[in-house]
């Protein structure tokens, strides 16, 4: 028995619901979770080893094998590729002497791909042993690998200096930049921590919910469920124990606003969680933080301590008798689907991040079976301002259906990428002008799961009534090959990130990807476009949002940028299976040495 592992398990009270934490700490200690440790943990928690492996093998950042003394996770989002990822990756391979997906023979460097790490405004970016490296260039990569060979600490490799704002604070010390371009109610500096708490404790919880309803605020994660209603459902659920979750699993490629809020307005967020807790009657809160943002954990924990010392968290908050609420941070381990609220709860319980069947909804039966509210980072921040200045004030921003402001994350082909807090209702054209983008070919609104629009859609407005978005706006310049560089990348993303539970979501994107390649390679026919448009209905029976939207990259370009497809399909051919004899005999000729 390994005593270190045993200490880790005891640290979490041998509780199988804390399996994620146990695995993360084990991996931090040993570099991976080897079979021996897996066995020890499974036995200690009295679960089958396969149950442990269920969780272990689900998450991108867990590994049973060593991934190198320096583990490089290079973001492979579409925007990273726009900014030169391909060359950066090539130099990494050349300098390290191994391919992506491998570890060097001496075990020094491991190179791995990873889905969007929330740095789209400063790509190409990579996580190396949890430390974020941004704006990588071939030159920087050569320097990095040299440094690794010298055995430098990862922090010592970070020679570009620290980023703006709190990014340079002692507890973060990161090269990440906030790039805050436009501020509104959420990001404004006039915030005094605790003011909202002091205000709400004079109100009845039902009145707090009423005010939130009055503001018409809807969930900022992308789905847009009315926040007040969610709280109301949760409050009505019969149980003594309730939970407030903050969803900081910002995984939609091109979204990075939560990272900025967590860095610059963490008190606002935690106060928002306290407001939610007061409203629904919860004593326990969990911030589910994506693994990619682990570099913020110490900083955030310090803020939590500070708020406890100021009696803004803990027992009898703000001296209000019975208002007890505290927050712990739960790390994820790399899975986009955990952004779905029930998958997030499953993950926090130490399981695979598979969305649950509904009903029951989390507000009825959530974390550990108790009523749970899961809100987005931005939603919770906005709610604090709603409580401070009133729902009516909040409604003065935005449109009738989409009240308030939205933090937009702009990346891609433009002069000023970054975070823009704007009222709902701006048109895409307004924003393109603001961010300095010219001759734009297309804009991906809401990330891969959202909509891709061409110039004829630039007058459309951002809002739940037209173009809903969780914040991601990716600008695609005139010189980009949209299908090859963007759509195919997005399809790969969904294939990589499907949990694998529902049959259509597990399989159909793979089939559609093959069709897309057929079209890109000039073998497509009109029938292929018709097939795609027919098969989309099969995805409607998937359980969760990922499954419902996984074909959107193809479907929305097929709808809004149809000419891209029509240009590529064979006009004079009605039917083509895509089979090419010269391709099919290549391997056979090679292995038998024939021409």
């Amino acid at each position: 028995m390994d005593k270190t592992i045993d200490a880790i398990i005891n640290n979490y009270n041998r509780d199988k619901n804390r399996l994620m934490d146990i695995l993360i700490d084990t991996q931090d200690t040993l570099g991976c979770v080897p079979d021996s440790a897996a066995e020890q943990i499974a036995d200690a928690l009295d679960i089958s080893k396969v149950d442990l492996e269920q969780t272990l093998s689900f998450y991108h950042f867990f590994s049973k094998e060593q991934r190198g003394k320096y583990t490089v996770y290079l973001n492979n989002s579409a925007v990273a590729n726009m900014y030169g990822r391909k060359e950066v990756a090539r130099i990494f391979e050349e300098e390290a002497g191994c391919k992506f997906g491998e570890v060097t023979k001496d075990g020094l460097i491991g190179l791995f791909d990873t889905s969007c790490i929330g740095m789209n405004d400063q790509e190409p970016a990579a996580l190396i042993n949890g430390v974020v490296f941004t704006m990588l260039t071939p030159y920087r990569v050569r320097e990095l690998v040299k440094g690794m060979r010298k055995g430098l600490k990862v922090e010592e490799l970070l020679r570009t200096g620290y980023g703006d704002g709190n990014n340079s604070s002692p507890l973060i010390r990161s090269a990440v930049n906030n790039h805050i371009m436009e501020k509104g109610p959420v990001l404004s500096e006039d915030y005094v921590p605790g003011d909202a708490i002091k205000k709400i404790i004079k109100l009845d919880p039902a009145e707090v919910i009423e005010e939130v309803k009055n503001s018409n605020i809807r969930g900022r994660g992308g789905a847009g469920f009315p926040t007040g209603l969610k709280w109301d459902f949760c409050r009505r659920a019969k149980d003594k124990r309730r939970f407030v979750f903050c969803n900081a699993d910002e995984g939609e490629p091109g979204t990075f606003k939560d990272r900025v809020i967590l860095t610059e307005r963490p008190r606002l967020l935690f106060e928002g969680m306290a407001v939610a807790a007061y409203a629904i009657g919860a004593a326990e809160g969990i911030l589910y933080l994506r693994y990619e943002y682990k570099y913020l954990k110490k900083f955030l924990e310090n803020i939590l301590d500070e708020m406890r010392s100021k009696n803004l968290l803990g027992k009898n908050i703000a001296s209000k008798k019975g208002f007890d609420f505290d927050i712990r941070i739960q790390l994820g381990a790399g899975a986009y689907v955990c952004g779905e609220e029930s998958a997030l709860i499953e993950s926090a319980e130490g399981k695979r991040g598979e969305p649950r069947d509904r009903p029951p909804f989390p507000v009825e039966k959530g974390y550990l079976g108790h009523p749970t509210v899961v809100n987005n980072v931005e939603t919770l921040c906005s709610v604090v301002k709603v409580m401070l200045y009133g729902g009516e004030w909040y409604r003065s921003f935005g449109t009738d259906e989409s009240t308030g402001t939205k933090l937009l994350c702009v990346s891609g082909d433009c002069h000023y990428p970054g975070v823009y807090e704007l009222e709902w209702g701006f048109s895409v054209a307004d924003i393109l002008e603001m961010v300095g983008a010219e001759n734009v070919q297309a804009v991906q609104v809401g990330g891969p799961s959202g909509t891709c629009i061409g110039p004829d859609g630039f007058e459309r407005i951002l809002g739940y009534e037209d173009l809903a978005t969780g914040g991601s706006l990716i600008i695609i310049g005139p010189h980009r090959d949209v299908l090859r560089d963007i759509v195919l990348n997005f399809m790969d993303f969904f294939i990589e990130e499907s949990c694998g539970s529902c049959t259509p979501c597990r399989t159909l994107p793979v089939a559609i990807r093959e069709k897309l390649i057929k079209i890109i390679e000039g073998r497509g026919v009109m029938q292929d476009l018709m097939d795609i448009e027919r098969w989309r209905f099969i995805m409607k029976v998937n359980r969760c949002g990922l499954g419902h939207t996984a074909l959107n990259p193809v479907l929305s370009t097929l709808k809004n940028l149809r000419h891209l497809y029509l240009d590529l399909i064979q006009k004079e051919v009605e039917y083509d299976t895509g089979f090419r004899l010269d391709e099919a005999v290549k391997e056979g000729k090679l292995v038998t040495n024939r021409t």
Partner: protein, 232 residues
């Protein structure tokens, strides 16, 4: 006494006990909704999605959704039936299903559904994945080529203390069922048979059993799957 409620399936008035899942309520009303991952009496998981029905305009899995008073359910709608057929085809193309060499042929629920839905050739391309044939277990053979990842074995087969014998590994189109060596080591013959029988396809087989029923005498040779429910 459980409260009785009224609802409709394709306009036909039905009754059920409150809280019953749609699929069970339909069965009691002699209406067949196809299922694959569902096991009556075991907590449903809704993973195959084949039992999807339209409830008030939304697609819901009949195995996980409880009926409620006045619910209007669409089941035999041509669009829904086509989605079900597509799911069957996706399963056939996702794995390697060579029926002539399978011991479960004739008693296989996936094959039976393909017969019922008259799948002649799938609309999707065959993926021909590389999958394992695992025969290290003392009593069972796990042929991953045939596995449709329905999780029936995971949910139904546990040891006496509730430990899982089967689980899912990895994610997306790389998922695979894994067997726990420690807890499945002491599986009885009866449990092994149970595991093989709970598998709707021929992915879990008992060693040294091989073909049991002659062609013509197998479960789905003469009667389509679901006809027992419809002809009750």
């Amino acid at each position: 006494m459980a409260q009785t409620i009224k609802f409709t399936i394709d306009g036909v008035e039905c009754t059920a006990k409150k809280g019953q899942y749609i699929v069970d309520a339909a069965t009691e009303n002699h209406i067949y909704i196809p299922t694959l991952c569902n096991i009556p009496g075991v907590k449903p998981r809704g993973s195959c999605r084949i039992c999807s029905v339209r409830v008030n305009g939304r697609m819901m899995t009949a195995c996980t959704t409880p009926v409620s008073e006045g619910m209007e359910i669409e089941n035999k709608d041509p669009d829904i039936e086509d989605i079900r057929k597509a799911i069957i085809e996706l399963m056939f193309t996702e794995g390697n299903h060579f029926c002539p060499s399978c011991e479960k042929s004739g008693n296989c629920e996936l094959q039976a559904l393909a017969y019922r839905y008259q799948m002649l050739a799938p609309r999707f391309k065959f993926m021909f994945p590389k999958r394992r044939l695992e025969a290290t277990h003392p009593k069972l053979i796990k042929d991953h080529n045939r596995c449709i990842l329905c999780k029936r074995c995971i949910r139904a087969i546990k040891d006496e203390e509730g430990h899982s014998l089967f689980a899912f590994a990895r994610r997306g189109h790389n998922v695979e069922i894994i067997i726990d060596t420690k807890y499945s080591k002491n599986m009885t013959d009866e449990q092994a048979r149970e595991a093989a029988d709970i598998c709707p396809v021929g992915a879990i087989l008992v060693k040294e059993r091989a073909y049991t029923d002659p062609i013509g005498k197998r479960k789905y040779d003469k009667q389509p799957i679901g006809s027992d429910i419809e002809n009750l």
